[in-house]
Amino acid sequence: MTRVVDAEGAHLAAVLRAADFSGRRVLEVGSGEGRLTWGVARLAASVLAFDPDAEYVETARAECPDDLRNKVRFEVASADEIEVARQSVDLVFFSWSL
């Protein structure tokens, strides 16, 4: 089955209007297959991205653009399992239920 999600980029455009991601250390909760992660990571200093679905995380890791690999890390965890050091990020990005 072929589907194209948000080819117009409305999700990413709205997220980038909502806040300035430039140079920020970002914690993303609910990264799915990384569809929005790439766009955020192009601006951010780093992105630590979590999703509870291991298949999604595998896809995201496999499809991560080469030029972003040094600043994006994907991990499998649900929101209540995430462990991150105190005051270690500048921006938390929740992308629930997408």
Binding site: M1, T2, R3, V4, V5, D6, A7, E8, A10, H11, A14, V15, R17, A18, A19, D20, R24, L27, V29, L36, A79, D80, I82, V84, A85, R86, Q87, S88, V89, D90, L91, V92, F93, F94, S95, W96, S97, L98
Partner: protein, 132 residues
């Protein structure tokens, strides 16, 4: 998860933020997603089991804002399109979703469409500032 549980999880995650850090929350919101063909609305999906789950996180952030931990700085509602080459593709994709369904009469109509079909989904993005 109970509402109190969501708030606890959010509170723990927000400990990762620096003082004056930013929270961006992107979530799906009502109304129900619409099935569209050539820009014409054919019908609605049933999201009655889905939206309460999405609203848990929204409510949790609202609770933290009421508590004074977060300050709402902006919000925007918008929609996105999920495009499929045929109606059958759209119906099959929705059938695999856990909390959203396509009502049977609509599914029969959509499955009969040989050409492109789109599903319009509605979203809300909000930004908050962590109070230092």
């Amino acid at each position: 998860m109970e509402p109190e549980g969501v708030v606890d999880v959010l509170r723990k995650l927000l400990q990762a933020l620096v003082p004056d850090g930013v929270v961006v929350d992107l979530t799906a919101v009502p109304p129900n997603a619409q099935v569209e063909v050539d820009g014409r609305v054919l019908g609605e999906l049933d999201g009655s089991a889905f939206f309460p789950r999405a609203e848990e996180a929204t409510a949790g952030l609202d609770a933290l804002a009421r508590e004074g931990l977060l300050l709402l700085e902006g919000e925007e509602r918008f929609s996105i399109l999920v495009r499929y080459p045929t109606g059958r593709d759209a119906a099959e994709d929705v059938a695999q979703r856990t909390y959203t369904r396509m009502p049977a009469p609509l599914a029969r109509r959509v499955e009969a469409i040989a050409g492109p079909v789109a599903i319009r989904e509605f979203s809300l993005v909000r930004s908050f500032r962590m109070r230092g």
